[in-house]
């Protein structure tokens, strides 16, 4: 039998997060963000969050309605990859790939990702999406993750954070619902 998955043994562990899920099922956050911390995030560092904000604004740019950053897409992702989130299995990917993205930006453009011009960011992300850097992912610290697969996942998560229910941490002020004329 040919099994192309590295997680077989992982797949049969009996981890059970059901009780935690029940908190979510109510649709509201019962566990809040620690109030005193300067960094409002649970998982992402300041630097990672800054890169994520910039990325979110490329995927959903600001204009007459919030972009990804102001809609708090980064908070959505941080919550979901955090201890009570539903995308925990993507946590390592974010921790690896956000800094790899920045490392690549320095190598290609000589500047941090957040400091690139908008046009440069878009060129860079379009290349990542198209698979241009997939073959050299090792040198730039992407680890076991493919840059284009990472981009696809982030794109999807940004859409979830922007267009999904504000209960999950994004879509601030129901911005996407207002933009679509639903609110």
């Amino acid at each position: 039998m040919r099994l192309k998955t590295g997680s077989l043994s992982n797949g049969i562990t009996r981890r059970c997060f059901l009780k935690v899920s029940a908190i979510w099922a109510g649709g509201a956050w019962i566990v809040g963000v620690p109030a005193l911390s300067a960094n409002p995030y649970r998982v992402l560092t300041d630097q990672e969050a800054e890169i994520m904000d910039a990325l979110a604004d490329c995927i959903i740019p600001p204009g007459d309605f919030y972009g990804g950053k102001d809609a708090l897409v980064t908070r959505f992702i941080d919550r979901q990859i955090g201890p009570y989130g539903h995308l925990q299995k993507e946590k390592e990917m974010y921790q690896t790939c956000l800094s790899a993205l920045n490392r690549g930006s320095k190598a290609e453009f000589g500047r941090n990702f957040v400091d690139l011009f908008e046009e440069q960011k878009i060129v860079y992300l379009t290349d990542i999406e198209g698979g241009k850097y997939n073959h050299q992912s090792n040198e730039r610290g992407w680890g076991r993750f493919s840059p284009s697969a990472f981009f696809n996942t982030v794109r999807n998560h940004c859409m979830m954070g922007f267009y999904g229910s504000p209960d999950h941490g994004g879509n601030k002020d129901y911005v996407s619902y207002r933009m679509l004329g639903l609110f």
Binding site: T5, L8, F17, S21, F65, G164, S165, H168, Y177, L180
Partner: protein, 552 residues
Amino acid sequence: MKNKHVNAIVVGSGAGGGVVAKELSEAGLSVVLFERGGWAHYAAHGDDELTAQRSFPLYAFFGPDNERYRRVAVDRDGNQRIVYPNDWAYHNNAACVGSGTVNYGAMAWRFMEEDFTMKSTYGHIPGSTLEDWPITYADLEPYYEKVEWEIGVAGDDYQNPFAPWRRKPHPMPPFPHNREAQILEEAAKRIGYHPFPIPMLRNSVEYNGRPACVHVRNCVGFACPVDAKNGTQNTVIPMAIATGICELRIHSQVVEITMDASGRATGVTYFDKEDRKQTQTADIVVLAASATETPRLMLNSTNRLHPDGIGNRYDWVGRNLQGHAYCGADGLFEEEIYDDFGPGASVAICDFVHNNPGITGGAMLANEFIKLPYAYSSGYRPPGSARWGREHKEFQKANYRRNASIRGPVQEIPNFESRVEVAPDVLDHWGMPVAKISGFKLDEDIKTAEFIADKAEKWLQAAGAYKTWKNIPGTGVSGSQHQSGTCRMGNDPQTSVTDKYGRVHDVDNLFIADGSLHVTNGGFNPVLTIMALGYWVSDYIVNEWERGNRFR
């Protein structure tokens, strides 16, 4: 404590199982209705698209959970991967009291007469296991009627010239159209199609003590906020419980059908809410766990007489997995056609379900349910459109209220290699081998999809769409919400799993009553047929019981 012996066990409280529990208990048989999930109410879920049952990118609120459940998905090249319930490749329906009938779109289609005689209508299709059903539309007609009146359907088939004959009208008047559907209805008439209102398992007027639909946006994938959607959880299951002799046992995962030395079923073993292993004995066992989980249960139940799984002497259990080869077209309009009058889907045509030259079968076509914001961000745009960035956001803003989609569930031609097996080395939370799903669509299905998508595109063009494009399905195995066919009924024990009453060929007291029984899956959503089969199978059991047959 030992569980008290009962007359009948029903495994699964979805579309088929809910009906059987009610019919048997009302006839005086004591019943335990097993359900692995619990009750799922609107109040606990609300309007959250990211966990609703249609795409659930975060998790599936209506179950099953990602912690205890998994399956193995095999692609066309034979690559296998472990998948979790909120991955499309898991082929999820739901896991709660009522299953998909709590959160479905509630389209209430009767199959047409030809759908029961596909082989005699179209002949043998190479590479397929296309076959006639052992029963006809006429056999099932009274049971369709029962579903429509007991569970509740709103519609008017007399407006559909292709509708199969019926003796009684639907009990509730049909639903009105929203702006989009009105435009589509008029256009359909202009080009000679025959549009009519989709029959729905929703209340257009107050019915059975529950209110009329209030037309919200979040219907398909969600529980109903006013309880106007009719599933088994708010109709037949409460009726079963009201008999006083049907116990609904929730959070109970059935893992095996137990047998005696002669190969008869004696009951089931299951894990209760606290993960304690228990047994329940009964005179009769009815499997209604869905077209994936019913065959899995059978394949996981072996003994000396059934070394390859109960009922699997000829290797037909799990074979012929079908769903629908969904296809259609999308279009953009200059004007706003969106008026926020839910649930969206309401106009259909049956012009192309059969009698299409050179095509095997076909599909009903209907307008799509309202696309929710996240869903609209990733699909429903012309090929080559921006997937992100400024252009993407502008597209969202400009077109969310100016688009329409037509979709059709193309009837698939069954094949032996599309199947559910068990993966002996991948276990669930309770240590049981999980379902492994593999297979493909035949070229014939894609050909039909192309034909049907073209009809859909013409319809949108006639309605005034300035840009249209087609949707053709991939060649991977179907299943998912419309999964069926894996324990087909038939007259020949060598080429089917049950007889025409849903009784497993070599096990006198083991029955099946879910989508697994379908020989073919029609060019329609399947649930009304599954419910009708629930009544049909129950009728046979009750008649036998009343004749004194105790299945011992």
